[in-house]
C-alpha cells in the first residue's frame, strides 16, 4: 500500500485549510473531518498526489513517520471515503515547504469525525448554489 498514490475520492469531498488545519467535508453525508497538525500536513500531501512512501521516515515533530502509523491513518481515510487509490496517477513530489511544516508539528496523525452539523453541510440553501445549474439546483443528498 505504501507505494500507492491517492486522490480525493469524489467531488463530494471538499477541503480547505484554516490556520494550518485541514478541514474536509463530505457533502453527500454532511460529515466533517478535522485533522491534527501532522494529519493536516499528511492529508495535504496525499490529496495532492504525493506517494505514501515518500512520507515514511519524514520528521514530524519529535519523531519520524512510521510505516505502520501511516498505513493505519491512510486506511482510515480510505474507509471514510475521503481518498481512493489512484493507480495510474504519477506521484507528485513533496514540497520542501510542506516537509518543513510537517517537521514543525506536535500531534500524532489523527482524524476526527463530527456529524452534528450535518444538517447544514448536506444542503445549504444560501451558500451552496451551483450557478450553471440554475436555481435552486442544490446538492442532492444521496
Amino acid at each position: 500500500m505504501q507505494q500507492l498514490v491517492y486522490a480525493v475520492a469524489s467531488k463530494d469531498i471538499v477541503f480547505e485549510s484554516f490556520d494550518g488545519e485541514a478541514v474536509v467535508l463530505d457533502l453527500s453525508t454532511g460529515k466533517y473531518f478535522g485533522f491534527s497538525d501532522s494529519g493536516s500536513r499528511v492529508w495535504e500531501a496525499l490529496s495532492s498526489g504525493v506517494a505514501a512512501h515518500a512520507l515514511v521516515g519524514q520528521t514530524a515533530g519529535t519523531s519520524t513517520i512510521r510505516l505502520a502509523e501511516l498505513e493505519s491513518f491512510i486506511s482510515q481515510l480510505l474507509e471514510f471515503g475521503l481518498l481512493a487509490p489512484a493507480a495510474d496517477a504519477a506521484a507528485q513530489p513533496i514540497s520542501g515547504a510542506l516537509l518543513a511544516e510537517l517537521a514543525d508539528t506536535s500531534e500524532p496523525l489523527k482524524v476526527d469525525i463530527h456529524d452534528d452539523l450535518a444538517d447544514l453541510i448536506v444542503v445549504d440553501p444560501i451558500h451552496e448554489v451551483e450557478e450553471p445549474l440554475g436555481w435552486p439546483a442544490v446538492k442532492q443528498a444521496s
Binding site: 480547505e16 467535508l25 478535522g34 452534528d116 447544514l120 453541510i121 440553501p125 444560501i126 445549474l133 436555481w135
Partner: protein, 244 residues
C-alpha cells in the same frame, strides 16, 4: 439593514417593514456601506415619510462591519432585534406573529422561524408573484430570528474575520450559547433570488461557510459547556428540488 448598491430593491425592503409599523414599534437602522448608486437617496426619500428609519453612511467595508455598525446604533430602549437584507422582503404579519411569543414568555431569548426562497415577487403586493416558484424551509438566515437584546449583548458582534458567512457564524454562536428559543412556523422572510445576490459568487462563500462550521466545532471542543446545534436548521426539502 446593511445596503450596498441596491437601489433597485432597498425601497421595497424598507416598505415591507413600514407596513408592519402597527404591529411593532420599529426603529429601522439602515447602514449604507459606501454605495455608489442611488441607494442612500432612495432611503432618504423614505425617511421623509417614515422618521423611524435612520440612515448611517460609511465607506465601503463589507457586510460584516456594516452589520456591526448597525448594532452599535441600537437605541437604549430597544428590547428586540431582527435583521433584513436590502434585497429581501419581510412578509406582512411576520412581526405580529412572532412578537406574540415574546409577549407570552418574558424570558424568551429568540424566535427562529422559516424563510421562503422565491424567484419572483409582486412589487405591488410584496407577495409571491402568480408565476413564481418558491420553497419554504428553516434555513440559515438572520431574518428568521427575533433576538432579545440581552441575547445580542451576550453574543457580541459579528466576527469581522468573516467577509461572508458572518451570518452562519453568528447563528451558530447564538445556538451554541443555549438560548431559550422557540421555532414558530411563521414565514419570516421572502428571500429573493436575483442576478446580484452576493452569495452567488463562486468559491469564496463556500470557504467562508466551511470556516464557520470549523470554528463552531473548535469552540465546542474547547468549551464542552456550549450546546450542540442540533435539530434547528431543516432544509431537507431542498434536496428534492432541482430546476425551477
Amino acid at each position: 439593514m446593511p445596503v450596498y448598491n441596491r437601489e433597485r430593491y432597498v425601497g421595497s425592503a424598507l416598505r415591507s417593514l413600514l407596513r408592519q409599523c402597527d404591529d411593532a414599534d420599529l426603529d429601522i437602522i439602515v447602514v449604507d456601506d459606501g454605495s455608489t448608486d442611488a441607494s442612500a437617496e432612495t432611503v432618504r426619500s423614505l425617511i421623509e415619510q417614515a422618521p423611524c428609519i435612520r440612515l448611517f453612511q460609511q465607506a465601503n467595508m463589507g457586510v460584516t462591519k456594516a452589520r456591526n455598525t448597525g448594532l452599535r446604533q441600537l437605541l437604549p430602549e430597544t428590547r428586540l432585534i431582527s435583521f433584513l437584507d436590502s434585497d429581501d422582503i419581510s412578509p406582512a404579519g411576520r412581526f405580529r406573529a412572532d412578537l406574540a411569543c415574546f409577549a407570552a414568555d418574558p424570558d424568551l431569548d429568540l424566535t427562529y422561524s422559516r424563510m421562503t426562497l422565491i424567484d419572483s415577487l409582486d412589487d405591488e403586493t410584496q407577495e409571491p408573484a402568480a408565476d413564481s416558484h418558491s420553497i419554504t424551509v428553516r434555513g440559515i438566515h438572520l431574518s428568521a430570528g427575533i433576538f432579545a437584546r440581552s441575547l445580542v449583548e451576550r453574543i457580541g458582534g459579528f466576527d469581522e474575520d468573516f467577509s461572508q458567512a458572518e451570518d452562519t457564524d453568528y447563528l451558530l454562536r447564538v445556538f451554541e450559547s443555549g438560548p431559550r428559543f422557540l421555532m414558530p412556523d411563521t414565514v419570516a422572510l421572502y428571500y429573493r433570488r436575483h442576478p446580484g445576490n452576493m452569495t452567488k459568487e463562486k468559491n469564496v462563500p463556500f470557504r467562508e461557510f466551511m470556516r464557520a462550521i470549523h470554528k463552531s466545532i473548535k469552540r465546542r471542543k474547547a468549551n464542552p459547556s456550549l450546546h450542540a446545534v442540533d435539530g434547528i436548521f431543516d432544509f431537507k426539502d431542498l434536496a428534492h428540488w432541482r430546476f425551477l
